[in-house]
């Protein structure tokens, strides 16, 4: 349990680099080629040979998007409780499952919230980590998202939510369902404050999260390769007893059915966010010098 001591699990991006050092090479699952790990990381966790997207942890995602050195973890120091005293088939209580996830990920929870700048513009980030019990939404995620909204309002920052989640945290029962209500209710505060809410859906964004806060963005982006939908493919297949369309619940499907504003490649997400934030700049707290600069630079181009 050594991990508990570290500043209550605060994420510090500088420490990320070291973790990969165990082996230098990895095999791409898609093309089978051996690729240099460092090269993959520099390439936004995309295979340099075939373009396959590898999984991004929440800290990696944050690193990918924010201005270097600007990120500060402001997660509320809370962790999951076990309201139902839930025990799964392996006889393991929910609380152990949570501890295991904490040890494996080095994170306190399935979501990190932080203050950062993106292209100089002030944002509050809320980023899910799918490794942590499927990034599912329990009471902690609900509360952290509400906290993120409150910070955004206090600091006049944009809210950027990055979803990577299988939905609600079953093990918290009805209380996980109620987080759909809790987060959707809080979302109004951003509207009242005229602050933009940008929702980014990645692989996967489904069920309880998709059917609440993630679908309430002013602007909604799908990361290329995203899976977006309410009900899982397997359940639908069982119900309708038919094959599903090839592109069912893909990024393209979501775009064609009017569910997302744009599909954005991972390597362009940061630039896309800067483009959007720039339009809302007058509503945000004073942007740093970088923003002004970046703005001018691009205005000339």
């Amino acid at each position: 349990m050594a991990i508990f001591g570290k500043k209550y699990f605060k994420v510090e991006l500088e420490r990320l680099e070291r973790k990969d050092d165990e082996t230098l090479w990895m095999k791409c699952k898609a093309c089978g080629e051996l690729v240099f790990k460092k090269r993959v990381r520099e390439n936004n966790n995309i295979c340099p040979k075939c373009g396959e997207y590898f999984f991004l942890t929440a800290p990696e995602r944050i690193e990918l998007l924010v201005d270097p050195g600007s990120f500060e973890d402001i997660s509320r120091p809370i962790v999951a409780a076990d309201p139902l005293q839930f025990i799964d088939e392996d006889g393991k209580p929910y609380s152990e499952k949570v501890k295991k996830a904490q040890e494996e990920t080095g994170l306190a929870n399935e979501i990190i919230i932080g203050r950062a700048r993106i292209g100089g513009y002030p944002v509050i980030l809320a980023v899910m980590d799918f490794r942590f019990i499927g990034g599912s939404m329990g009471s902690v995620m609900g509360e952290q998202i509400c906290q993120a909204i409150q910070y955004a309002v206090q600091e006049r920052a944009a809210l950027v939510l990055i979803s990577a989640t299988g939905g609600a945290r079953m093990q918290e029962g009805i209380l996980s369902l109620m987080q759909m209500a809790k987060t959707s209710a809080a979302r109004k505060r951003l509207e009242d404050a005229k602050l933009p809410f940008i929702s980014i859906m990645t692989y996967p964004t489904t069920a309880g999260v998709e059917a609440s806060i993630a679908s309430l963005g002013d602007i909604t982006l799908a990361e290329k390769g995203a899976l977006i939908g309410f009900t899982g493919r397997r359940v639908i297949k069982q119900t309708i007893r038919q094959e599903l369309p090839e592109d069912f619940q893909t990024d393209r499907f979501a775009f064609e059915h009017g569910i997302v504003d744009n599909v954005v490649k991972r390597e362009q997400l940061r630039d896309e966010l800067i483009k959007i934030l720039r339009l809302f700049a007058p509503l945000l707290a004073h942007s740093s010098a970088v923003a002004g600069e970046a703005h001018q630079r691009e205005a000339i181009v």
Partner: protein, 324 residues
């Protein structure tokens, strides 16, 4: 008596109003106060008769009992002049959702509910009470109509969940549910939600945001069906009874968890054995709660509604002393 005095004052303001002064707000506030006063002297809420605690899985079976009263049964028995409205004005109508205007307790109300079928033919038409996006959009349209006229809203929830189908996903079922939840918080009229049978996950909560959330004694309300939970977590769908117990999806549990406000008592053995009694119990609960929420000014109502749901959830604080 103090409230006769208040009544007189209100009438005087009304008379003034007729002469062109806008005092509607003041009048509304006084009326709220008056109602609150009257409420204090009224009979208190009946504490639900502590019927023998049934096993959770037994309750699941009761909640799904094919003879259990459905939404339209409550509507027909408890309201007068129900006028059903149809269509979302965007794509279609959805018989898994019923929505309309009616009179309840002398007051025009909007009622929206999910509706199961009583036989095979009706179940095909009602899709076993599993709505498509157009059902939720119809519901929202009609609830907004209620808001426009100041009619309070009653919702009746009895659904296995939103329909898991290709068309539903194509028409953004997740977005429809999210939109309903969001908009329900913003509605300027009182909302009383009642789980009368199955409260199935996102498809249920999209109609169950209210100033009061009531639940029938043998109803269930859950993030996932016991079968689904068993299949995913226990890797064995036949373990549904265990999952049902693990999920704490019955009314007594939910009351303890702070998710519902009141349990509406059912006759022993379930509402289907003596529907009259169940109907009667819901009627009196509606009357009592409706009177209370109608007495509140809109801003207070909305604030309380938000706060009510904001409090839901359970987590633990980490403090330095947690680690030693």
């Amino acid at each position: 008596m103090i409230y006769e005095e208040l009544q007189r004052q209100i009438e005087q303001l009304r008379a003034l109003s007729r002469n062109g002064v806008d005092l509607s707000e003041e009048i509304a506030r006084l009326e709220a106060k008056l109602a609150a006063l009257k409420r204090q002297t009224a009979t208190p809420a009946p504490s639900p008769a502590p019927s023998p605690e049934l096993d959770d899985w037994e309750r699941v079976k009761l909640a799904r009992h094919p003879k259990r009263p459905y939404a339209l049964d409550y509507i027909q028995a408890l309201t007068e002049d129900f006028y059903e409205l149809h269509g979302d004005r965007l794509y279609g109508d959805d018989a898994a959702v019923v929505a309309g205007i009616a009179r309840f307790d002398g007051q025009t109300v909007v009622i929206v509910g999910t509706q199961k079928g009583r036989d095979a033919t009706e179940n095909v038409r009602r899709n076993f009470g599993m709505p498509h996006p157009e059902g939720y959009r119809k519901a929202l349209r009609v609830m907004k109509l209620g808001e426009r006229f100041g009619f309070p809203i009653l919702t009746l929830i009895d659904t296995p969940g939103a329909y898991p189908g290709v068309g539903a996903e194509e028409r953004n079922i997740g977005g429809a549910l999210a939109q309903n939840i969001y908009e329900l918080f913003n509605l300027k009229v009182p909302i009383i939600a009642t789980i009368i049978g199955e409260g199935g996950s996102g498809g249920a909560i999209a109609l169950a945001i209210g100033d009061r959330v009531l639940m029938l004694e043998n109803a269930i309300y859950s993030v996932i069906t016991p079968e689904g939970c068993a299949a995913i977590l226990f890797r064995d769908a036949s373990k549904a009874p265990e999952a049902a117990r693990a999920l704490k999806l019955t009314a007594p549990h939910l009351l303890r968890l702070g998710v519902i406000d009141e349990i509406v008592p059912e006759p022993p053995g379930g509402a289907h054995l003596d529907p009259e009694m169940a109907l009667c119990a819901l009627k009196s609960a509606w009357q009592r709660h409706l009177r209370e929420v109608l007495a509140l000014p809109v801003d207070v109502l909305q604030k309380q509604r938000r706060e009510k749901f904001h409090k839901m959830g359970l987590y633990e604080e980490i403090t330095e002393s947690s680690f030693s």
